[in-house]
């Protein structure tokens, strides 16, 4: 596909802009701070994002199996799921990719009439979004499950150690 080779050419630009857009989603102080690290991020959060989006981008161009895609997305989304984001904020970084591609390749797409290819790429990205959303939800559900477990365990233990419970258990 023509558009894929264009994407390959534009990889550094798109990735850099994508990375910065993702960092923009962090609270201003953290974002400013993370962004100052330019091309050589020294902290794991931005490194994870950096590595993750590169993997996704390459996957988009060269194709990857869904397990690998899942792993790449998981590494980013699992972190974002615990970092002060709403659901849309946590995964809208993938939407950014759509916009970036349209913006970066706008001229080429128009001149070479690549709209169909663009649609195909975008539907790949939609697949990514679906998967990211599932991962995000799984993570959040996990968080709430953990919170609920803590509460439940407290109550359960209190009951479990009560005299009444033990008598019931003994009867059984």
């Amino acid at each position: 596909m023509k558009i894929k080779s264009l994407l390959l050419d534009e990889k550094p630009t798109v990735l850099k802009k994508w990375f910065d857009l993702i960092l923009d989603t962090y609270p201003s102080e953290t974002s400013d701070f993370l962004k100052r690290q330019d091309n050589n991020p020294a902290d794991p959060v931005s490194q994870i994002i950096h590595a993750g989006i590169e993997g996704l981008y390459d996957g988009l161009i060269h194709g990857i199996d869904s397990d690998t895609m899942h792993a790449q997305l998981d590494s980013i989304v699992r972190v974002r799921a615990i970092q002060d984001f709403t659901a849309s904020e946590a995964i809208n970084f993938i939407f950014h990719l759509k916009k970036l591609i349209r913006a970066e390749l706008e001229q080429d797409i128009r001149e070479q009439d690549l709209y169909e290819e663009l649609l195909a790429i975008e539907s790949d990205i939609d697949g990514m979004i679906n998967m990211a959303f599932d991962i995000y939800m799984a993570c959040r559900e996990k968080i709430y499950e953990l919170k609920a477990n803590e509460m439940r365990n407290w109550t359960y233990r209190a009951v479990k150690h009560s005299k009444a419970y033990r008598e019931v258990k003994a009867d059984r």
Binding site: R36, Q37, D38, P44, Q47
Partner: protein, 329 residues
């Protein structure tokens, strides 16, 4: 901002010294008065600061243990990273002070397969050690200006320092390494975002100052040479309390002296006091023997406690019911 301000400050100091000597001829001020004042402030400042620290006690025994404790005789004990005895503490402090043991441990975070991993990172250790060791060497080397005859040891250090015998006069490696290491430390504050973010004017200023001191020294030795014999006559005059000012000693010498004076004056009021503080750090200079030997807190005072008697009074019935022995039936 802190960086530009510091750079500006050091530049201004250089201009002041140059103007003071070359324009208004205050050789006496820059060659005698300020150096004496600087030495006095440095010595008194450092001592007072340490005494001030020493007035706060170490109430608790809080070494950071970085190795296996001494427990059972057959378990290998890490005697310097987790010292149990004073000897161990001395070893630990020596490693810390001479070899920067803790910095040697430095690791950096990396990410592989989406997971945080860690790799060795010895650059800061190397840069820091190079900076401090060469600073010390340069300092010792300068004793040749403050002793007559020059002790043989100083000549030996000089010879070792010029060991590569590059150029004439011999390139003294310590000076070059000092400036290079300081430049690296400065680069870190600009090039590594985290370090840039935490850096204050107080971090840039001493670096610019020391780099300037190093460069003026290097310029005097290799490029715009000063009359070394006159310089020594002046420095000897200072230390033998018969100060003299000799003509024919270039302004660059006065700039060098003035910057050193500023460094000495600045020293006791700044983070440079880590030189003294490192000896007093309670997480490093205590042995991990607090279970073996009681450590006394000098400001200890009684606190309100919940005694057993109060406890039993509150729960006596429940205790009895549960079959727990009580003091009072």
């Amino acid at each position: 901002m802190g960086m530009l301000f510091s750079l500006f400050m050091v530049a201004a100091l250089i201009v002041v010294a140059y103007a003071g000597v070359a324009v208004v001829n205050m050789q006496n001020l820059f060659g005698v008065v300020i150096p004496y004042a600087a030495i006095a402030i440095f010595l008194a400042g450092v001592i007072l600061k340490v005494l001030k620290w020493s007035r706060s006690p170490v109430p608790f025994h809080i070494p950071t243990t970085c190795g296996q404790q001494k427990s059972l005789p057959w378990i290998k004990h890490s005697s310097t990273d987790n010292p149990q005895t004073t000897g161990g503490v001395i070893m630990r402090m020596a490693l810390e002070i001479f070899l920067f043991r803790s910095l040697f441990r430095n690791i950096k975070s990396e990410v592989t397969d989406g997971r945080a991993t860690y790799g060795s990172d010895k650059l800061l250790w190397l840069g820091g050690l190079a900076f401090h060791l060469t600073f010390f060497t340069v300092l010792i080397r300068h004793l040749r200006f403050f002793a007559e005859p020059v002790p043989a040891m100083i000549n030996t250090i000089d010879a070792l320092d010029g060991f590569m015998q590059i150029g004439v006069p011999h390139l003294l490696m310590s000076g070059v390494i000092l400036v290079a290491a300081a430049a690296y430390l400065l680069w870190r504050r600009v090039g590594i975002s985290q370090v840039k973010y935490i850096s204050l004017a107080a971090d840039y200023f001493p670096l610019f100052l020391i780099i300037s001191i190093g460069l003026t020294g290097i310029i005097m030795r290799y490029f715009a040479k000063v009359d070394i014999v006159s310089v020594k006559k002046m420095t000897m005059g200072l230390v033998s309390l018969n100060p003299v000012v000799l003509s024919g000693v270039g302004s660059i010498f006065y700039i060098h002296m003035f910057l050193i004076s500023v460094l000495l004056i600045y020293f006791p009021f700044s983070k440079l006091m880590h030189m003294g503080g490192v000896f007093l750090s309670p997480t490093r200079n205590l042995s991990n023997n607090s279970r073996e030997k009681r450590h006394v807190n000098p400001w200890d005072y009684p606190v309100k406690v919940h005694t057993y008697e109060q406890y039993e009074d509150e729960f006596r019935e429940k205790m009895k019911e549960a079959g727990i022995p009580v003091e009072k039936e």
